[in-house]
């Protein structure tokens, strides 16, 4: 059972990292905001179902992932209904010779493009692996996909992304 005080503390402790988690998956800050609210609201509705076994953070993360899956399904259906809708313009610079102060934005745009170009399942597995720091087994538990499949997806995404991004190594910002 999650009390109101527990819930507020949970929100304060986790909303930043959970928003980042949902943003990485949904690729849209506004969607991530909506999903974040929905995830917390779902946890609140299901607070009676939380038995105290396992961490509350884990319960929240699993809930957030399910909320994201529902969102992804809705988005797919909308996309299927709007086949004729014009594609949004992709923000791509005219060429790669950008000014140095734009290097970071340029590189980030290429990484986003690279991630977007990955197969959906491989992208999700890679995002959870690389940016959320989850192991293949933890991803497997979260997504209910066999760990071996997760490992294959992570490997595939890594190889595809490396092949696509290597040419931008010279554009890397100085750390």
């Amino acid at each position: 059972m999650v009390s109101s005080a527990d819930f507020t503390a949970l929100f304060e402790r986790t909303h930043v990292s959970l928003h980042r988690f949902l943003y990485r998956l949904s690729r849209n800050p506004a969607d991530a905001d909506d999903l974040l609210q929905e995830a917390f609201l779902t946890v609140w509705r299901k607070r009676d179902q939380y038995s105290g076994r396992g961490s509350l953070d884990g319960f929240l993360r699993r809930t957030a992932y399910r909320v994201y899956l529902n969102h992804r399904e809705r988005r797919r259906r909308r996309a299927a209904l709007a086949l004729r809708a014009p594609k949004p313009a992709v923000e791509t610079p005219a060429d790669d010779s950008v000014e140095r102060h734009d290097t970071v934005n340029f590189l980030f745009a290429r990484i986003r493009e690279g991630l977007d170009a990955l197969p959906e399942e491989a992208r999700e597995a890679f995002v959870l692996f690389r940016f959320e720091g989850l192991s293949c087994r933890e991803i497997s538990q979260l997504t209910q996909v066999p760990a071996k499949t997760v490992s294959t997806r992570v490997r595939r995404a890594t190889l595809l992304l490396a092949a696509r991004l290597r040419k931008y190594q010279n554009e890397m910002p100085i750390q």
Binding site: A32, L41, V104, L107, S135, A147, S151, Q169
Partner: protein, 390 residues
């Protein structure tokens, strides 16, 4: 402080996938020993080498991107009001549901209580046909609740062939009989060396081990004894592998090293077609069946019914059979009580018997059906016509 995307070396174990280990290597969180081992593996595995270079490149390229955070515009104040609205909606929903349930219940009560023609009731749980003869009581060895062939101290030998055969029949494994005489030095050597070996102990899970003395062996009927005891050959210790009916599968005797004994056990399993239940599952299901039996004996029929039904749908055949049998015993009991009520001369007595039966089986489909019969009997003043819905 652990950075995002990094995992401590202590979390790396044999179960980690290559991707996990390569990430730990690139992030520098792998222990020196594990790192050296992984590097050696990568040197001999071209695919792993490609993955290492790819992850190293991707890691470097996405390092700044990983820290690029889009701040959330959502605060707890955006969420909490929604929870209150949600709670309000939930209360409204509950109130509407309660009104609907009460309405349906009132309608049902009016329908049930309205006098009319004798009802035709379909019963699914209580058998209405000829009950035939009761099947013999069935049971399962109570020792199965805790029994495993090995413990941390070594082999757990049973001391009764009858008990071992009973257990073997349930867990679908052969019995391994060990026969020895007092002062048998080979037996003592094998106790100290052969049966302590991990390789041998691992094989014991496939058998029900039983150890008998020469006197116990002599007390067995000739057709129950290991074949070697019925021949002039004598060498101790003797071993006999037999199925749960006592049919011999293999016989051997004498001193065996761990490796020799393991091979003997493996050979004896060739051709054995079985579908063994894990010892833990067997223990758990035995416990459930015995609990069901205790509940039935104590007239806690709802509890017994739930336990029997749970067993009846199991894939482990002996326990599924026990569950179905227990459920059948309860159903027959309910039917007998129904018959007794129908045979009573006085309506008051019939009603009392139906009341008692419905109360005894409350919480089971049998109780629900008995209550339906009672309600119909009370409303119409005569027993309803019963039809089997099975």
């Amino acid at each position: 402080m652990r950075r995002r995307g990094e995992r401590p070396a202590t979390e790396m174990n044999e179960e980690s996938f290559l991707e996990d280990r390569i990430r730990a290597l690139v992030h520098g969180t792998l222990s020196e020993e594990d790192a050296e081992q992984l590097k050696r593996e990568i040197e001999s595995d071209a695919e792993a080498s490609v993955l290492l270079h790819a992850y190293r490149d991707v890691y470097a390229l996405t390092a700044a991107f990983a820290d690029d955070v889009h701040p959330s515009s959502v605060s707890v104040r955006d969420v909490l009001p929604k929870t209150r609205i949600d709670a309000l909606r939930s209360r409204w929903r509950s109130a509407v549901a309660a009104v609907l349930v009460l309405g349906v219940a009132a309608l049902a009560a009016w329908h049930v209580r309205s006098p009319g023609e004798p009802e035709l009731l379909e019963l699914a749980a209580i058998p209405l046909g000829d009950l035939g003869v009761d099947t013999a009581p069935r049971t399962v060895p109570a020792a199965l609740q805790w029994f495993t062939p090995t413990t941390t101290d070594g082999v757990r030998w049973m001391d009764s062939l009858t008990d071992a055969l009973e257990i073997a029949a349930v867990v679908d494994r052969p019995v391994l009989l060990f026969g020895g005489i007092r002062g048998c030095s080979y037996c003592m050597w094998m106790d100290a060396n052969t049966f302590g070996s991990d390789a041998v102990l691992g094989r014991f899970a496939e058998f029900v081990p039983v150890r008998l003395t020469a006197a116990q062996l002599r007390a067995l009927a000739p057709d129950e004894r290991p074949e070697m005891l019925n021949t002039p050959m004598r060498e101790w210790p003797i071993f006999a592998v037999m199925d749960s009916t006592g049919r011999p599968i293999a016989n051997f005797a004498g001193l065996h090293s761990a490796e020799q004994f393991r091979e003997r056990l493996d050979d004896s399993l060739i051709g054995v077609e079985n579908d063994p239940i894990s010892w833990k599952t067997a223990g758990d299901l035995t416990n459930r069946f015995l609990s069901a039996e205790a509940a039935r004996a104590d007239d806690r029929f709802a509890e017994a019914w739930t336990l029997y039904c749970g067993l009846a749908v199991r894939l482990e055949r002996p326990f599924a059979g026990l569950g179905a049998w227990g459920r059948d015993v309860l159903a027959r009991d309910a039917r007998r009580r129904l018959d007794e009520a129908r045979a009573a001369a006085e309506p008051e007595r019939s009603r009392e018997l139906l009341d008692n039966a419905a109360r005894a089986f409350a919480g089971t489909p049998l109780g629900d059906e008995l209550a339906r019969v009672r309600d119909s009997f009370v409303d119409v003043g005569a027993f309803p016509e019963l039809k089997s819905a099975r």
